[in-house]
Assembly symmetry: C2
Homo-oligomer: 265 residues x 2
């Protein structure tokens, strides 16, 4: 009966937005992005977000006119304008451009799958991907999200935060997402890793998100304090993974991180 019973109201009860229509419109976009099929009807949205139908209708018309959503018969889905806007965001990040250039020239990395990611709330989000050999074709795409505890980049970016922030995000009794038998289970495990990562300067993910796959990650030093935290990672097959190779990759990752962190590297 597809009873998706998640009446998460658009407004957080106490938080009256200075422009409710905008907040609700954003909630509509979120709902469409999270809907498994990517398509919802007016009534679906009105019900899920707790907005009167007539108001929802107005919102949808305005969103459609702005091409932020598309109507297809009775179904609404995300609009193409969002691809433009997302691309506009990425094109402004000089780091992404330099990332590609560096990967091509790096002796070891140029043959591997390298990604650059950014912390985004309690997730990481992939900004760009360089694929040296399509041998290990990844399923993740640009823009995809991943829990912090399940990825090397996530852990290395977490390690950059202050302890009290980590504590706030991962209280001792928190339930961590699990994707493989080797996924971290407890906040304690995660925090132990964080201190280890701080010492050694890089993070390792050992089949914690995908069996047979390992990941190394380093942080990009945040230049000038402003701007969000970036991280870099290499992905490799566990089967063909050696200590010396790892050392080489970490070395090159750190070089890349350094040149990204210092504008005129």
């Amino acid at each position: 009966m597809a009873d998706s019973r998640t009446p998460r109201s658009a407004e957080g009860l106490g938080s009256s937005s200075p422009a409710p229509a905008v907040t609700r419109a954003a909630a509509v976009l979120d709902a469409l992005a999270e809907a498994p099929s990517g398509r919802l009807t007016l009534s679906d949205l009105a019900r899920e977000l707790g907005i009167p139908k007539s108001s929802t209708s107005n919102l949808l018309m305005a969103l459609e006119e702005a091409r932020l959503i598309t109507r297809e018969g009775a179904d609404f889905s995300l609009g193409r304008k969002l691809v433009e806007l997302g691309a506009a965001y990425l094109s402004r990040l000089d780091e992404v451009q330099e990332f590609y250039k560096f990967c091509e020239q790096a002796p070891t990395l140029s043959g591997e799958t390298v990604r650059i990611a950014m912390i985004d709330g309690d997730h990481i989000i992939y900004l760009a991907r360089y694929e040296g050999h399509p041998a290990v074709r990844l399923t993740s795409n640009i823009g995809d999200k991943m829990p912090l505890s399940l990825s090397a980049v996530g852990k290395v970016l977490l390690a950059q935060l202050h302890d009290h922030d980590i504590e706030a995000m991962f209280p001792d009794d928190v339930e961590l997402p699990v994707m493989t038998p080797k996924s971290l289970r407890s906040a304690a495990e995660l925090k132990a890793q964080v201190t280890a990562i701080r010492k050694q300067g890089y993070a390792l993910e050992d089949e914690e998100s995908t069996l047979g796959v390992v990941c190394l990650a380093v942080p990009v030093p945040t230049h000038g304090a402003h701007g969000p935290s970036l991280g870099l990672s290499v992905t490799a097959l566990k089967a063909t993974f050696s200590e010396e190779q790892a050392a080489l990759m970490v070395k090159e990752l750190k070089e890349l991180a350094h040149s990204l962190g210092n504008p005129m590297g």
Copy 2:
């Protein structure tokens, strides 16, 4: 003095939106996307969009809370959430996934630079790019836009439209964008090409956007009448471009287009 004098009002004078706040919020996003530096202040936005400062402030607060924009001191820029939303849109397009798979296996295309694009108002927008050989590294990225008259995909998608739509978009006295000496100049030229493209089933772009580079494109048949028009293109260096190669590429492009057009190809 950076006198960007473009007071393009957010509302189109006569068009009263059913949810003005949303329309204006979308205008804010547009303005940020088009701003050369990607950063604008509250006053910049208020001035450019013709919105009172106090209202603009409200909009920006709501947008920031939704993470659709970010504040950095006094400057506002696009937010990360837009990358997520754009990615969510793309992930729903099965065509993109199949596009990659096909390109890898195609005998000729697998070595070339292939792209899939979509018509979007009076532009095309690139949805995905497959790069066989990084020999001809393109400057265009996913999400980038391009005028219809300047690209092979643009022309081939234009040729899919009805004549009266083309006439409306390109009246005889229209001024076409020019990027190289070989760019089309007049609507007449464009329309002549459109009829030619309809006959031969594919479009050629001969150094019209970049000197030294040629492009071939075919349309993807729109299955079931709904859904936007997609197009495929291959890019090659004019220097190494031969007739037979072109024939092969067009053949494979058409195969790909066919399998994309028919879900269970």
